[in-house]
Every structure is written in C-alpha cells, then in structure tokens.
C-alpha cells in the first residue's frame, strides 16, 4: 500500500496524536472519578470505550495480552473452550479488499440481550452501565451466550486454580469482559486501554459517556463512530471508528 518510510512516519504521527488526544483525557477522568470505596456506582456515570480501528496496529495484541494477565485467563491449549474476554477481529471488505482490525469485547449495552434472557437475573447491568455476571446466581445455562450479538461471553469449561484475588471466576459459570470493574472502582482504567496506550497506539479511549467534558465524549463528537450491530438498537457503551 505505501512505502515503509511513509508508514513509519504515519505511525509516529499517530502515536504522537494519540498521546496528545489522551493526555488531557487522563486528567479529566481523574477529576471525575473521586469515588470512595463505600460509595455505590452511580447512574450519573456511563462508562464507555471508543475504539479507533485506524489506530489499531497490525500484528499488535497488547490489549488481549493485558486482559489475560489482568484477569488471570490462562491458555490451556484448547482454544475452543478457553475464555476470551477480548479478541482482535481481522476484517476484510470482500468488494474492495480493504483490511481493518479492531478489538471486540463485551459492548456493555444499555439494553443488553444477555440481561433480558438470563432466567435468574445473574446477568445484570450496573448503575454505571457496566454489564456483569453475578456468579453467585449464575446457573450456567448459557442462554446469554445464545443471545449476545457480539459473541462476547465465554463459559468456564473446566476447573480453575490460582485465580486473581480481584477476579474470582470458576467452572460452570458464564463470564465476559468486566471493563476491569475492579480497577474502575478504584479510579483506574481497563487493562486493555492502558496497554494500548503503553504500546503507543492509543486506539482505545475509556471514559464517562455522560460527561460532555470527558475526553471520550469530546472525541465522539469529532470522530464518526458507530455502534456494532446498530440495527439492534442496543445502545452499546463501546463505540467504533474506522470500521
């Protein structure tokens, strides 16, 4: 498509832009997230992600690796039954041959089908928009996996050991991306977003969609971004630009 020199220049420029775009965001979110441990998640906040596919660097899997490390998702060598909370989907437009890629995880819908179908109410949406599974009431029926349009959920197919203290998970329950809720509750960002920024790509932006002054809200005003499967009108908290 282009000569290596131009590519390298574009890469550097993109990284610089990413830094410029994110730096103010870091500050703003920090100010907004003054939640003490005893304070409940608030509906005033709606956590969301903006994925810019144009910045998702070919061959990079930093977000996936970070997610696995953070949440203790081991690779058993059985990919069909292993949990994947985030994966890179490679895309190709069959007509034009255009290629793109983007990370896909739980889209944290405002109207989540998984929550609609869950018989026990184990799938639920927190006040701040994070969609979670309460594994104390999940019976492992997998109806949510049938209902999710994004294939975001995984079923734990075998016994686990050495779970992370912050990320309890076990055999027989369904799980998915928690938006690193344990980090968010302490005022942090999801591991994938942090890793993407650390790798210099800045293809993922995390923040409060309800706060018009947040970096993500500002970026969403500038960038033509969309919801995946917008036809289903689920109002996901994760938005995509460039695909």
């Amino acid at each position: 498509m282009s000569d290596p020199g131009r590519r390298a220049f574009l890469g550097t420029a993109a990284a610089a832009l990413a830094g410029a775009a994110i730096a103010p965001g870091i500050r703003l979110v920090e100010l907004a997230a003054a939640r003490s441990p005893e304070e409940a998640a608030s509906a005033k906040v709606r956590w969301g992600l903006l994925v810019d596919a144009n910045r998702c660097a070919s061959g990079c899997t930093a977000c996936v690796t970070a997610c696995r490390t953070e949440n203790g998702l081991a690779d058993t060598g059985r990919p069909r039954t292993d949990a994947q909370w985030i994966r890179i989907v490679d895309l190709r437009d069959p007509r034009t041959g255009r290629e793109a890629r983007a990370p896909v995880m739980c889209q944290h819908c405002a109207h989540p089908p998984c929550v609609d179908v869950c018989p026990t109410g184990a799938s639920f949406k927190r006040a701040d928009g994070i969609v979670l599974v309460d594994r104390h009431t999940c019976i492992g029926c997998r109806y949510c996996m049938m209902a999710c349009p994004y294939k975001a959920r995984s079923f734990v197919h075998e016994n686990l050991a050495d779970q992370k203290p912050d990320v309890p998970r076990g055999k027989g329950c369904v799980e998915s991306c928690t938006l690193c809720v344990h980090r968010v509750d302490r005022g942090g960002t999801p591991a994938c977003v942090e890793a993407c920024a650390a790798a210099g790509h800045g293809a993922m932006l995390f923040g409060d969609l309800n706060d018009p002054e947040s970096a993500i809200a500002k970026r969403l005003r500038e960038l033509p971004a969309r919801a995946l499967r917008a036809d289903l009108a689920l109002d996901p908290g994760v938005r995509y630009a460039g695909v």
Binding site: V29, E39, P168
Partner: protein
C-alpha cells in the same frame, strides 16, 4: 423387655458407640491458628456465628453496587488468615477449610475466589 424396645436399645447403643468412635478417631478438631496478631473485624463469637452473613451482604454490595470496602470482604479474610506455611486458607490445617470440614459445611467460595492473598492488582491511577 418387648422385642421392639430391645431392638431400639441395641440400635441406640450402636449409634452412640459409632458416634463416640467417630468423634474420637476420625474427625479431627479444627485448627484455628491465628498467626497475625490483632483483633478481627468483629468479635470472635460474632464472627463464628455470622461470618457468612457478613460475607454474603458484602458480596452483593460489591458485585452489584461496586462498593469495595475492606472490612467484610472475603479478600480481607484471606489476607489475614492465610497460613504462613502454605500461604492459603485451604488445606487440612487451613483456617477456613479445617473448621468447615469439622462442621461438615460445604465451602465453595474458593472454587472461584483466590484462597491466598495476592495483593490488589494494580488498578493503576489514571
């Protein structure tokens, strides 16, 4: 002695001796070793009776509302009560498991939760 009554007496003696034998030789007394000095989050008798209630209450508040206070959190229990030798609350002499085994109460928290302290994962500041 009428026959049914005699049969009952024999049964009672048998049951008692089985219970005695079991108590004497098979079910070990729980190991309640508190290695870390200081007091627990509640009085000991309250904790013995009600720890499961505290945990369930905290569990629902954490999972559904994101309230992450330390006082009644399971991670807090593990932090203090993991044995120095094994680093865990499980195992035959583990603080949780030995007592649950003695009481005959199923302990399934640690099918999913970490049984050894891991330190809160970074949650690095934004």
């Amino acid at each position: 002695m009428p026959r049914p009554l005699a049969a009952f007496a024999v049964l009672a003696v048998l049951a008692a001796s089985v219970a005695w034998a079991a108590g004497a030789s098979r079910v070990a007394k729980p190991v309640v070793a508190v290695e870390r000095p200081g007091s627990c989050v509640e009085a000991t008798d309250v904790m013995r009776r009600d720890h499961m209630r505290f945990l369930t209450h905290q569990r629902d508040r954490t999972v559904h509302e994101g309230i992450r206070t330390k006082r009644h959190s399971l991670a807090g229990c593990v932090e203090c009560h993991a044995a120095a030798k094994t680093g865990s609350v499980l195992g035959p002499e583990g603080f949780c498991q030995s007592c649950h085994a003695y009481a005959g109460v199923r302990l399934d928290c640690f099918e999913c939760h970490a049984a050894r302290p891991g330190g809160a994962s970074a949650g690095s500041a934004r």
